[in-house]
């Protein structure tokens, strides 16, 4: 059950201020060194709402870089958990799509309770992209620049006002009690939204259809030497896996408080691009060669994700393009593969 509303920009900060009374408001803020970073909003006017290319992505709030799973001591264990209610304002369509993929991955037969707990308490107000960045390629994947479904609330900037689309129960919860600031859209609002969408679509510099790439790999047209070439440029910095809103790998470590019998079992981000990720006793090392690791990352996103869930493990956010010092990011590699015969 979706519904559309219109909100004057003059009312936006009022609405967010009210929402902040019930939850931690997270939004895109400019850090002192100029980057756009998602963090807790103190002053609503600091929000930078027109920022397609933010780094890092929002996954920190659902799958933090370091999650305390269990505190242990001789007395027993305790699960700290995270029940903080959060409203995340200003994430982009591709990232909403990425959250959808994470939901699939962390849900399923073995439901990850740490993720689900955070997810349950997180509300998203996303913004459709009127000005995609040069690194964006969501358009070829159907994961942006605006969404038809999968969002809680999707805003489209119409100049002096926003089109507000409500797409979930969480979305309805966020507009409840605010009838006085929202109004029903008129034809002119829909016309402007249509214009905004159309003009956004025409602005993409990158047109990549991963379907073609996938077909080429499946047809055996990509030799291992191609992956070796890609891998030879990898610095193993892990930027790609850490920045990617779809990458989910982690390590589990027990941290001990000095020599004492108490400490914390926590999970921390890990990445298949790192040496040692697959190392086993007896020195068996399935992905010892860096080429095997690079290929593994690409195959997971391009072949196995579609096989398992019908969707690519990439939403075209372009963060790996911005991050990768070796220029072997998804867009670049996919482009090369598309041109290859």
């Amino acid at each position: 059950m979706k519904s559309d509303l219109v909100l004057s920009k003059a009312h936006l900060s009022y609405w967010l201020r009210q929402l902040r009374k019930e939850a931690d408001l997270i939004g895109p803020l400019r850090s002192t060194d100029g980057d756009i970073v998602f963090s807790s909003v103190e002053n609503i006017h600091d929000i930078v709402a027109d920022c397609p290319a933010n780094l890092p992505c929002q996954k920190e709030f659902l799958f933090p870089q370091k999650e305390e799973m269990y505190k242990f001591s001789p007395k027993g264990t305790e699960r700290p958990g995270n029940h903080k209610k959060r409203v995340i304002f200003g994430i982009r369509s591709c990232d909403v799509s990425a959250v959808g993929l994470m939901d699939t991955f962390y849900g399923g037969q073995y439901e990850d309770d740490f993720y689900m707990e955070r997810r349950k308490n997180t509300f998203f107000i996303s913004i459709a992209c009127n000005r995609p960045d040069s690194s964006c390629f969501c358009i070829g994947l159907g994961t942006g620049p605006f969404l038809k479904e999968g969002f809680d609330i999707q805003l489209t900037d119409l100049g002096d006002r926003h089109m507000v689309q409500v797409g979930s129960a969480k979305g309805r919860q966020m507009i409840k009690g605010f009838d006085h600031i929202f109004r029903r859209p008129k034809k002119a609002d829909y016309d402007d939204q249509y214009e905004a969408n159309l003009s956004s679509q025409s602005k993409f510099e990158k047109r990549i259809t991963l379907d073609n790439v996938r077909r080429k790999i499946l047809a055996g047209k990509v030799p291992d030497s191609f992956w070796e070439g890609v891998a030879s440029r990898c610095f193993q910095c892990g930027g790609c896996v850490y920045q990617c809103p779809v990458c989910t790998c982690f390590n589990v470590v027990d941290w001990k408080d000095g020599g004492a019998e108490k400490g914390i079992r926590m999970r921390i981000w890990d990445g298949c691009m790192f040496k040692g990720f697959t190392k086993m006793a007896g020195n068996v090392w399935p992905a010892e060669q860096i080429a095997a690791r690079t290929k593994r990352w690409y195959f997971h996103k391009l072949l196995y994700w579609p096989e398992q869930s019908g969707k690519f493990g990439c939403v075209g956010c372009g963060r790996c393009t911005i991050t990768c010092p070796g220029k072997i990011d998804m867009a670049t590699v996919a482009n090369r593969l598309e041109k290859k015969d």
Binding site: Y70, E111, D254, G263, R265, G282
Partner: protein, 288 residues
């Protein structure tokens, strides 16, 4: 035949304990009942079986000691044969050392049973060859005992078991007991050693010397990667249909439930899609 997932009681055990929704990563604390030193670096640890816990041959547990961490360990006992859960653990690093330090009366965390099981029903009425190398005997032992108590349901059973040296031969009592039940057992060590009067050589050298018709028989294999690879290849060259060859794999595992990504190999999670695989599946992936 598909490897059906039979049990998923981890959540249930946890749920009963906490009276609420399952915690995927919460170990259940169980009491250590007995610790037997099998070789200088291998111990058999027997722990109490939690209420409502049931498992099948081939499944494993994420075993943990707070402060050291978790490690995947195969269940080497067999339901209906052993009252306790038995784990055979080789000391190789941090977690396994902490496990070796456990004494009877101590506590160990377990999550599971995890993973699929040996699809042993495929071999009903047929002859079975077990091939084990080193600690790989641990998961196979669960299956051997499973098969031997159902002797009437299967044909003949034979085993080739290889160790590096005489002091590393595991489960000597079981081996004797199985032989007494009519199982044809070949124990071999890699290199000649003083006082050793049994076979010497790699397990592959003894393939085909049992009274198991290769073309109709079934093989269940576990051991080091390279041994698995060679045994599967040789058996199939000797004429055993690849669909009759089953193995169980090891991988670096951090979660055991398909989330951490460590065990991921060619589109499969060894922890949840495996650890037991049939040869054709592995051949497809190119790793074997």
């Amino acid at each position: 035949m598909k490897n059906t997932k039979v049990h998923w009681t981890c959540k249930d055990v946890t749920r009963k304990k906490n009276g609420k929704r399952g915690e995927l990563y919460a170990p259940v604390m169980v009491r250590v009942l007995d610790v037997v030193e099998m070789t200088p670096d291998v111990k058999l640890i027997k722990v109490e079986k939690p209420k409502g816990f049931s498992y099948s041959p081939g499944q494993f547990l994420m075993v943990s000691v707070w402060g050291a961490g978790e490690a995947p360990i195969s269940i080497t006992s067999t339901e209906g044969v052993h009252n306790e859960i038995e784990l055979c653990i080789r000391k190789v690093g941090l977690v396994t050392s902490a496990l070796h330090n456990l004494k009877p009366g101590g506590l160990m965390g377990v999550r599971g049973p995890l993973g699929n099981r040996f699809p042993v029903e495929m071999a009903l009425g047929k002859d079975i060859l077990f091939v084990a190398g080193g600690i790989g005997l641990a998961p196979l032992r669960a299956l051997v005992n499973f098969v031997l108590v159902r002797k009437g349901d299967f044909g003949r059973a034979a085993m080739i078991y290889g160790s590096r040296g005489p002091s590393e031969v595991l489960f000597r009592d079981d081996l004797k007991g199985w032989a007494a039940k009519g199982m044809d057992i070949t124990v071999t060590i890699d290199r000649k050693a003083e006082g050793w009067r049994q076979n010497v050589g790699l397990v592959t050298e003894f393939l085909g010397k049992q009274k198991i018709p290769i073309k109709e028989g079934y093989a269940f294999i576990c051991g080091p990667h390279i041994m698995i690879k060679n045994v599967m290849r040789d058996l199939s060259l000797m004429g055993m249909p690849t669909t009759h060859i089953v193995t169980t794999l090891e991988a670096h595992m951090k979660c055991g439930v398909g989330k951490c990504g460590h065990c991921y190999m060619d589109g499969k999670y060894i922890c949840t899609d495996g650890p037991v695989f049939e040869y054709p599946e592995l051949k497809k992936s190119g790793a074997f």
